[in-house]
Subunit: 409 residues, 2 copies
Amino acid sequence: MLQISHRGTQMPASPIRKLVPFADAAKKKGIHIYHLNIGQPDIETPQIALDAVRHSTFKVLEYSHSAGNESYRKKLAKYYESVNIHVSPDDILITTGGSEAIFFGFMSCFDPGDEVIIPEPFYANYNGFAMEAGVIVKPISSNIKSGFALPPIEDFEKNITSRTKAIIICNPNNPTGYLYSKEELETLKKLILKHHLYLFSDEAYREFCYQGKHFSAMELTGVEDHVILMDTVSKRYSACGARIGAMVTKNKQVLQTALKFAQARLSPPSFGQILGEAAIDVPSDYFAKTKSEYISRRDTLVKRLNAIPGVFCPNPGGAFYAMASLPVDDSENFCKWLLESFNHKNQTVMLAPASGFYSTPGLGKNEVRLAYVLNEDDINKAMDCLEKALEEYPGKISKRQAESAVTNS
Amino acid sequence: MLQISHRGTQMPASPIRKLVPFADAAKKKGIHIYHLNIGQPDIETPQIALDAVRHSTFKVLEYSHSAGNESYRKKLAKYYESVNIHVSPDDILITTGGSEAIFFGFMSCFDPGDEVIIPEPFYANYNGFAMEAGVIVKPISSNIKSGFALPPIEDFEKNITSRTKAIIICNPNNPTGYLYSKEELETLKKLILKHHLYLFSDEAYREFCYQGKHFSAMELTGVEDHVILMDTVSKRYSACGARIGAMVTKNKQVLQTALKFAQARLSPPSFGQILGEAAIDVPSDYFAKTKSEYISRRDTLVKRLNAIPGVFCPNPGGAFYAMASLPVDDSENFCKWLLESFNHKNQTVMLAPASGFYSTPGLGKNEVRLAYVLNEDDINKAMDCLEKALEEYPGKISKRQAESAVTNS
C-alpha cells in the first residue's frame, strides 16, 4: 500500500489559512471582508526596492552563491550595524524567507527527539518546522493579563530536560505584539548560559517597536555562540513575496553547518536578493513614517476593542498584531460564524482564532489575533462589524464568564 | 556544551562547490577558468519572461497562495498538456525551485529509516534531502560502458526491503545525460506496482532530449497514484535564480500533505512565479533553437573528449551533461591539480569529479562530469586545456590501466 508518512499525517495545516474556504464562500455571496487575519501589510513596498528589480539589466537569471550574494551580505551587515547588531558579512546566510532561517537553524542544531522551549502563544509555523526536524516543542504559557510578558524563569527551569537544546523567542512577538525588555533578555541569557542552550531569536518585526527601543538577542554579551538570529525582509519592507530572509550568528560551526543545508537547495531567489539589497537604501524617514502609521492603527484598534463590552486587549508594544479576549464560547466557532452567518451592511471581518497559536490544548479558546495591516478607516469599519457581531453572536457569554475565562487562561 | 546536530555533522557539503576555493585562488593568479563544472547555462533567459517581471506594476510585493498563484498553475497545466502530461492545476504545487519539490515529496511520503533506491551516479543533492528527511539511499550502479542505461531490474529487486518506499530517477539524467526509454519506464512501472512503491521522477531537463522523444513517468498508465513529478523552470528557461519549480502528482493525498509543508513556508517567490508564468509563452521555436545549440556543443565536446588518448565519453541523449572516464589516478586530485598547478596559455578548465555523484565508495574515481553550458568556441578552448593537462598530469595512468578501470567500474 502506498502510504503518507507519519510526519506528513501529523504535520499541522496552517491555522490561519484554515478559514479561507469560508471567506471564499462569503466573498461569493458579495460580502466584503476586512482581513485582520493575516500579517500581509498593505504598506507599499519601497519604490527604490521594486525599481532595483524592474530596472535590472542582466541577460541570464543565474544561481547566486548558496549563502547569498556577497554584495547583499555586505550591505546587510551595515544595516545591522545601524540597529546596534555588530556582525560581519561572514556571519550572515541569506535564506529563502525567514522560514528557511528557522528550518536551517533547527536542522543544524537539533536532532530528532530534541526539545525546544517556546513561550506560548507563538508563531504557529514553528510547529511545522519542529515537525520537519522531528523536534518536540515544550510550550510555556504567557498570559493576556500581563500583556504576554516573559513567563517566570522558574517555568522555563521546570521544563528543561537533558534533551532541551534551545529557547525560542519572537521579539517583538507574533502573535501577541509583546516587546521583550532588555531585562527579560538578560534573564534568558543567564538561563541559556546555565543550561548550555541555544537562544533562537526571531526578529522579523524589529523595526516595529512603539514603546521603547528594540533590544536584540544579538546585543547580549558573552553568549555570542548561543544566539541564532532569524530575520526577514518580509515585514520590514512590506516585501513578503520576495522570500528573502537571513540566518545570522557568530557561531561559525552553526553557520557552516547551515551552509551545507543551503548548498542542497542551491541558492536563495535572485530577484528577491536584488530587492533586499536595494531596500537597505530606503530614505532614513521610511521606518519613522511606517511606524507612525502603525501606531495610529494600533491606537484605534486597541481603543475600539476595549470599548466593546466583555472585550480585553492589552496594548501591544511592537509588531502589528494584537491579541484580544472576546466574550464568546469558542473563538474558532465565532470566526467561522463571522464569515458564514454574519454581515453588517454587507461587510464582515476575518480574524485568526488564537487556539492555533497555543500548543497547550484548551488555551486561547476565547482569544483572537488581529493584524492591523489595514488603514484606520478600514479598521474602524472592521470594528463596527465586530461590535455588531458580538451583539448578535448566539454563542456569546456574559461579562462575568468572560472575565473569569481571562483570569483562568 | 553547545552542539551541532548529528544530521548537521553528517550532512554532505556540495561536492561540486568543494573545489570553489581552488578556483578562486587560480582566478586571483590571473588564470581564466572554463567552468564546465556546474549546470549554470549561459543561454539567455527568454526576454518575454524577464520583461514580465521588469514591466510589473504592483505596489505591494505580497505573499502568494502557498500552492502558488492559480493563474500560474493554470498556464503550467497547459504547458504540461503540450508535452503530453495531462494534469489539472489542482495536481500542481508550485515550489521554491525543483529542490523544494524533492524535499516536500520526501517529507510527505517517507519517514526516518525508510529507504529509497536510486540508480547511481545520481544528482548529489538527493543525498542532502535524504539526510534532512532521515531517509536511507540505496544506490544501484549504472555503468559508463552502457552509457549509464537503467541497471538490470534484478539489481533493483535485490535491494528492495520492507522499508523501501520509492525508486527515484532523473530523466534525462543529471549527471550522466542518459535519456531513459519508454521501455525502461514500463519496466519500472511493473516494479513499482509489484512492490507498492512511489516513483519519483525528476524531469528538470525534459526539454533537452537529443535522441528520440522524452517519455515522462507521468505518461505511464495505471500507476497515477505512484508517480511524483519533480520539475523546475531553472534549466528549461535558463532561469536558475528564479527558484521556481513544481511538484506534480495525481495522488491527491500526497499533494494535500505536501501543501501542509508548503503552508509552513508560506509561499514560493512572487517574482519567480511571474517569470515562470510568462515563460510559458516563449515563441514555439525557442526550445528548438536552444536544443540545436546544445546538440552542437555536445557533439563538439564528445568528439574532442574521445579523441584524447585514454578518454572515453558515451554520447549523452539528453540534459547538458556528459560523463567521461579519464586516464588519471583520481579525478578529484586531477580536478584540484587543474586549478592549483596547471595552466595552458594562462587558461584552465574546471570539472566536477564524479565520485560526488556515486554513493558506493570508490566508484567514479576516474570519471568526471562536464556540463556543456559554454559556447562551442569556449568548449574547444577548454578541451585544448584538458588535452594538454592530460599530457602533463603527474598522476596519469596508462591506456591499459584506464581501460581496465572503466571495465571494473
